[in-house]
Amino acid sequence: MEKGNKGVQLVGFWVSPFVHRVKWGMKLKGIEFEYIEEDMFNRSPLLSQINPVTGKVPVLVHDGNPLPESSIILEYLDEVWSHAPLFPIDAYQRAQARFWSKFADQKVLESAWLTVCSKDEIQEKAVKDAIGHLERVEEKLGGRRFFGGDTIGYLDLMMGFIAYMLPVWEEVAAVTILDALKFPNLAAWKSNFVDHPTINGDLPSKDEMLTFFQWQREVHLQRI
């Protein structure tokens, strides 16, 4: 991409929860952007040009400057566009949000994804780990409507995959991780999240996600 181009582009892949977070973040903040779909199984030269380090999506391109990593992009959006802040103002609350966002990806998402990619004892352990991590998240959320309080914010976006993608993974892997009876706070938050006007009209198709992740599970199990 040539430097000096105006506007905002988001390079993404339709089923990536990391891309969804950024898309929703931009919509919540009212930022106009052009979405560019990248086929992650047939990557274009564009992606290696704008993200030579990891080659992953999402990549935000703002005025020709590329930026990867969803959590970092969301912080950047909040710093450049001050309208409808996603982050708390207080420094301690910001530190908490950063800590929990790493937990969301490194622990919750990793263990949940492993249940899709594995079977038998490895899968059993992954389920146990994922449930343990969700117990922490349940406690962190408490009875609040959103992690951000009354309004949806950064941590809701980072945890968002729990609301709409985890149920798909559970179905594909034939496991139960988020039992509504065991996790009443998260069960309520799930509805609040997917019913939010910005999220509701913009979720990927459940059938398409099921087909995609069933195929992914077959591919991963063949490698074992």
Binding site: V53, T54, L67, P68, E69, A91
Partner: protein, 219 residues
């Protein structure tokens, strides 16, 4: 109200060194508490119940966990104390955060391989580490520090691995200082800052710690 700052730490930890460096360069008074990894204190277990790991910064009774989270917190709360560690420009700030995370991923990944006994894994680790160092040299360019305005966030991220370089060199049987002149020069400049050099672990102490771990694990 006077600030009360406690740092739960472990001397050889590259992660623990980061808040030590940040607090020292900004001249912030704090109480340092050395943790025993084999016998973690109640305060650590309560302050970081999720990972039960150092570093933990406890500021007026409130715990902050994670080395980069702590350094950003220090920079935000004590923004009136120079140096400002994170860049002022949002894009530069985002780049610094990205590279800091990348540094951790690459060094841990390649370092863990270098420590393996099997030759193939050791060689793969060395190769990865060499590539990583080349990337860092390129990122540094001709600047004295990674930060555009002097010693900053990325410098904090990488300098705390340098006490471990001697250990990597011995395990991998290769030389880091010799092959990367720009980075060697950068290390020297960082160590000329007294608050930085006094916050870093001694490389010989780090190597002895590594040998103790090896012995305990029967390697």
């Amino acid at each position: 109200m006077e600030d009360k700052v406690i740092l739960l730490d472990f001397y050889p930890s590259m992660f623990g060194m980061r808040p030590r460096v940040a607090l020292a360069v900004k001249g912030i008074d704090y109480e340092h508490r050395e943790e025993d990894k084999e016998n973690k204190c109640q305060l650590l277990l309560e302050s970081n119940p999720i990972y039960k790991e150092i570093p933990v910064l406890i500021h007026n009774g409130k715990p902050v966990c994670g080395s980069f989270v702590i350094v950003e917190y220090i920079d935000e709360v004590w923004k009136d104390k120079s140096p400002t560690l994170l860049p002022c420009d949002p894009y530069q700030r985002a780049q610094a955060r990205f590279l800091a995370d990348y540094i951790d991923k690459k060094v841990m990944e390649t370092g863990n391989l270098i420590w393996c006994e099997e030759r193939e894994e050791k060689e793969a680790g060395k190769k990865g580490f060499v590539e990583f160092m080349k990337q860092m040299e390129s990122e540094l360019g001709d600047k004295p520090f990674f930060g555009d305005n002097g010693f900053g966030f990325l410098d904090v991220a990488l300098i705390t691995y340098t006490p471990w370089f001697k250990t990597f060199e011995i395990c991998g049987d290769f030389s880091i200082q010799q092959d990367y002149p720009k980075l060697s020069s950068w290390v020297k400049k960082c160590l000329e800052i007294e608050s930085v050099s006094k916050s870093l672990a001694d490389p010989d102490n780090v190597y002895n710690f590594y040998l103790t771990i090896k012995e305990k694990r029967g390697i």
